[in-house]
Amino acid sequence: MSAIADDQAGAVFAALADPTRRRVLQALAERPSVTASALAGELPVSRQAVAKHLAALRDAGLAERQRAGRETRYHLRPAPLTDAVAWMATTGAQWDDRLARLERRLSADASARR
């Protein structure tokens, strides 16, 4: 398992723990790029709150900003989401293995007692 991927997964999950931030992410995902003001116009949150959520998404590697003339535009970076999904898949498979081992042990114990 990759330490970097797990670290990234932790950051992504933490960023996504906030429901409003998930709406901001969703809004980013719906178009190539957008300004913070435009997001504030369509979401029921202030311009200031949008800026805060965009900063958190950038920290998690999920959003990137670009200057376009006098505007600052934001766009989605989807790659970390793939890492997060990979973490869940790997971790889930590990638990499937562990629980299968536990069940095998318990059934072996049961037959030993008979």
Binding site: M1, D7, G10, D18, M88, L99, R101, E103
Partner: protein
């Protein structure tokens, strides 16, 4: 991507009673051979230990919470990785004992204020004693 699913959850019904099931969680001897290939750990709150697998991977382990016979919560992490929280909960089931496993990054627990989707009766939230500090 299901954004609301930020944890790994598994559930299995073990064909033994809860006391028998707990023996596999109660100490290092019980945990070794399924949770990891080898475990050095005192199963008491705050205890630190190590889990090892035959492929050479190794994780530090800190026991977060123990409710004897019912629940074991621990944090673990490999060097250079962020800690994840693991919760193992046992409940009575008509066919034996239900074991529910949750694993999620500790940063998520902190971000959502430790309100995990609990399966049993409400208990106090994880304290994350010394988790990956």
């Amino acid at each position: 991507v299901e954004l609301h699913e930020q944890m790994v959850r598994r559930e299995v019904v073990l064909s033994v009673d809860r006391d028998t099931a707990w023996k596999n969680l109660a100490d290092a001897e019980g945990l070794a051979g399924w949770l990891a290939d080898d475990i050095e750990l005192d199963v008491r709150e705050g205890a630190e230990g190590t889990a090892r697998w035959s492929d050479g991977t190794e994780r530090h382990v800190v026991v977060d919470e123990v409710e004897i016979g019912r629940r074991l919560a621990l944090c673990w992490w490999a060097d250079g990785e962020h800690a994840t929280l693991v919760e193992l909960t046992l409940d009575e089931h008509e066919a034996g004992t239900r074991l529910v496993v949750l694993e999620l990054p500790v940063r998520v627990v902190e971000a959502v204020g430790a309100t995990l989707a609990r399966t049993g009766p409400p208990a106090r939230g994880p304290q994350l004693a010394g988790a990956g500090a």
